[in-house]
């Protein structure tokens, strides 16, 4: 009788467990453009994990942060979420994600968590709250045939070279020299300009606090640099309404050869190369990439990327963690998510770059920095981004002078730091 009871209990527990597994439904929110490829990868995950099904959700990056915060705050939201590196600490502060330390009991990464880069951006109150997934940065992109037509035989190295080359390209070929996104994402080239001149929007003050890392005059001078391209007609005025680097208004001139130089992130460059090859099968690819411009100091761009986080409301953290482990595997980056670079040192070392990508490889390996003080200051990278991009755009458009725009920016950033 005792044995019968034991077997009954064991069978019931086993059946319930298998039933629970069979019922596991995860939602993965993924916001990049490789939706089809990611769906194929998830099909593979489902085949390898019978009983787990994964719904793939996509929303615009612009809304991704606040959408997840709103959902998770009321006990809802996807189980696994794809977010920007710099949002991780905010998510942890809001209490909407699970700490990695608690999840690793379900399984460890093949090369350990130490193998991931930029893990410092995921730390909040001594714990890690996200797994760095993909790494990216921005670099310069050149249309080599247009440079050649303009008689330019070496890539520019400094911001002054870039301006001079743009003028030369316009004078000799009537093509656009350098054009950049002039709205929201002017944030990136503007910061690169500041960093390469030893300046920044926010920096450590040396006494454990934070301060603005540039004077009004220095910020205004940086704004004036970019404004020169618009005022002199070197870049089309339409860039003022271009928010993202993959906007057709920026990519099309590169594809048709009416623009020589651009700045963009890794995945956009890979999409650009694919688009050219599709439109010109068998033709020589007239693109090259190079590191960012130098100022009074070495060039620097941000070490950016995406993090995977697990929603604190997930009903099945074990299955969610299994999905995170699958998504960080080498196969995913080789077969499905190949426009992105993995955020693991061992996988990064294995990448075979195309010759056209050498600039990105060099940039990523030697000339990147994290947002550091921007994220640590508590001002919020998103807020700094919005304020800075708006200020630069008011200067570029002529809505206000560069000095007025810089004064407004300094006042607003100071308010954020004071709060």
């Amino acid at each position: 009788m005792k044995n019968l009871l034991k077997w009954t209990v064991t069978a019931t527990v086993a059946l319930s467990a298998s039933g629970a597994l069979a019922d596991t439904k995860l939602t993965f929110r993924f916001n990049d453009s490789e939706r089809e490829e990611m769906r194929a990868a998830l099909d593979k995950f489902e085949a390898a994990n019978p009983g787990i099904t994964v719904e793939l959700q996509t929303i615009a990056w612009n809304n991704a942060r606040d959408q997840f915060l709103r959902e998770a705050s009321v006990g809802r939201g996807p189980d696994v979420v794809h977010i920007a590196f710099v949002w991780t600490q905010e998510m942890a502060e809001a209490g909407v994600v699970l700490p990695i330390e608690g999840l690793t009991r379900y399984g460890a990464f093949p090369n350990g968590f130490e193998d991931f880069i930029a893990t410092d951006l995921t730390v909040y109150e001594g714990q890690h709250w996200g797994v760095p997934w993909s790494a990216d940065t921005w670099a310069m992109v050149y249309r080599t045939d247009v440079l050649e037509a303009a008689g330019i035989d070496r890539l520019p190295e400094t911001w002054d070279d870039l301006l001079a080359d743009s003028r030369a390209i316009q004078a000799s070929t009537d093509s656009i020299g350098f054009a950049f996104p002039g709205a929201d994402q002017v944030w990136f080239p503007f910061n690169y300009y500041l960093w390469s001149n030893g300046l920044s929007i926010v920096t450590e003050d040396g006494a454990g606090g934070f301060e603005i890392g540039a004077t009004v005059e220095e910020l205004a001078e940086a704004m004036d640099y970019f404004r020169t391209y618009v005022d002199e007609g070197l870049a089309p005025r339409s860039i003022l309404s271009v928010g993202v680097p993959h906007d057709p208004a920026l990519l099309q001139p590169l594809l048709d050869g009416s623009q020589a130089i651009a700045v963009m992130p890794t995945n956009t460059y890979r999409q650009l190369l694919s688009a050219f090859e599709e439109a010109n099968p068998g033709a020589e690819v007239p693109f090259a990439s190079g590191v960012m411009m130098a100022g009074s100091q070495e060039p620097q761009t941000h070490l950016g990327g995406r993090t995977l986080v697990v929603n604190s409301n997930t009903k099945d953290p074990e299955a969610a963690w299994a999905l995170v482990q699958f998504l960080t595997g080498a196969d995913l980056f080789e077969e499905y998510y190949s426009n992105q670079f993995p955020a693991q040192r061992t996988l990064l070392d294995q990448i075979e770059y195309r010759p056209e990508e050498s600039g990105f490889a060099d940039q990523l390996a030697n000339y990147t920095r994290t947002w550091g003080a921007y994220a640590d200051s508590g001002a919020g990278v998103g807020q700094l981004w919005n304020l800075t991009a708006r200020a630069v755009a008011t200067s570029l458009s002529g809505q206000s002078s560069s000095v007025q725009a810089a004064e407004g920016l300094v006042a607003e950033v100071q308010r954020l730091l004071d709060n």
Partner: protein
Amino acid sequence: MTLSPMARDRISAFWMLLPTFLLLFAFYLYPTLYNLELSFTDITLLQLRQGGKNVGFANYVEFLQSSSFLDIAINTVFWLTFVSVSMMLILGLLMALLLNSQFLRRIRMTTVARLILLVPWATPPVVAVIAWRWLFDPKHGAINEFLMWTGLISDPITFLADLATVWPAINTIIIWNSTPLVAVALLAALQTIPEEQIEAAEIDGATRWQQFRFVVLPYLMPTLSILGLMSVIWTFNNFVYVWLATGAGPGTYTNVLATEIYMRAFIDMRIGYSSAIGVVMAVVMAIFGSLYFRFFGLMNMQEKLG
């Protein structure tokens, strides 16, 4: 105890109105009061679980004293609302008169013209903005191509990036998308005017303008008044057109109250502060509504017209 007929009527009216009151409370009054409560706190998107602390009128003071307040107010009141709504009413009236004219009937185009008129109105605002963004595109846009072809311009105009053209461009999108509603409503009002009154005015020697001024327009005034009020409220509160067309840019040049709320709430994450802006918007509209009704004497006019 027997109830009087009036008391019985009141009780039955109460029960019949109760579901409406409950719905209004749940979906209008409660959110409004909750928004008011949030506006006195410093709650952010990161503190939705913990809640914010009371800061009194600090959010209101900060907004009303901010350096951008005047620009945002002018953009919202003048450019977004006044220009758009006045053009919508004028063009809507002209369209309605055309659609009701003998001329269109004579050339048997009335039905076709009314169908064509409905196309912009049936287009969702999001689609309208995207379509117009392409039309305004400096390189591939049809408007620039046409202007260049006619020789009116030699270089393309960057409609949505140039300070001189960005507001007229946004106004164009709003007017294109919203005017048909005004025209259809006014057309319906025009068709209620008794033919005999216009014929009588004609026999009495009234000119076309006098017929319109003293016969047609008084009939249209109640409809125009309501359309004016509704258009002002819709346009004043509208977020979609500006945000999708320009993202409140270039810089902050086209920032309006609705886009300011969005940026403060979902970029700066300051829910309390953006709630205060929302309350300011609601108060402005409430004041406008009451003044508007008083100015037009709507009720009296309706009584006069029977």
